[in-house]
Amino acid sequence: MNEFVSEVLERFGPEAVCEVFAAYGVSLTRLPSAEGRATIIPGLGRDGGSPDATVAGFIGFSAPVLRGALLMASTFEVVARARPPAVRNKKLSSASSSDWILARDWAGELVNQVLGRIKNRMRSHGLLLEVSAPAALSGQALAFAKPKSPKTRPVLFDAHPDKVWFWLDALWSSEVEATGGSDEERKAGDVILF
């Protein structure tokens, strides 16, 4: 069973990130392991250095035998570029404090949608997650303490040219049991009328 949770950490999580960004027209390419660079949000800027404007979304989840959190960070520019097409005609500016509010809002919603996809995938394997409301933060050159969990899997994506940094951590009991995948999983965009 632990293989299933490991698969969630290593495969479903990063896949969900790519799917959510792709749904909003931003193509991501997974880069080689970010493990060795986990002490700060590394190289999000196009020059590989710390950008001036970093936005991050954070959300937690739990189940009777499982709990964890995920964090996703990128530049103001990438978060603004990943906004829904219907509102993209109004460009966001990092010089505007009200636009920073919208960037943080969207970073929180993106991380919520990533966890929503992971939740749907886990539910189809019999694991029902409860999720918290997302939180978001922003600032110049955000830095994080290196996560202490040995199971932490930071993943870095290229958003051409800036980067997206993703971290998913989970703790689980040996009692975790997943069933085989079911066909009940619903997809983004589905409309079900009762």
């Binding site: 829904p84 219907a86 509102v87 809002d105 029902l128 983004a188 409309v191």
Partner: protein, 118 residues
């Protein structure tokens, strides 16, 4: 007559997105950031509520329960990232008229809203 759609979502961007999609279709949009705020703003003018599930203070499923408890009759479509059959079934039993999974596609949202709005 202009129909009023209430959008209940803690993301301001999602509320703006829904307004940008439904506004040109002739709908007037009223916004609320969670179920509690929505209950305070609901009136008989509202033709449809589009409601997220995972929100602070009062989530979308509890909002449905509150509508039922207060005998407020208004069509509700859930608009959420979640797609668990048990949550969908709970919403259906609580009186929701449908379930749309984010990110939504504009034509499908417009069609569903036009079909369900009173």
């Amino acid at each position: 007559m202009v129909k009023v759609v209430m959008v209940v979502d803690d993301s301001a961007t999602i509320r703006q997105e829904v307004a940008a999609v439904l506004g040109p279709e002739g709908f007037k949009i009223v916004e609320a950031a969670d179920g509690e705020e929505a209950l305070g703003k609901l009136d008989s003018e509202v033709a449809l509520v589009l409601c997220d599930v995972n929100m602070p203070r009062m989530n979308g499923l509890d909002f449905l329960d509150q509508l039922k408890a207060r005998k407020i009759s208004v069509p509700v479509l859930m608009l959420t990232t979640e797609g668990q059959p048990d949550s969908i079934e709970r919403a259906k039993l609580a009186g929701a008229k449908g379930w749309i999974i984010k990110p939504f596609k504009a034509p499908q949202l417009i069609a569903a809203v036009k079909q369900v709005a009173r």
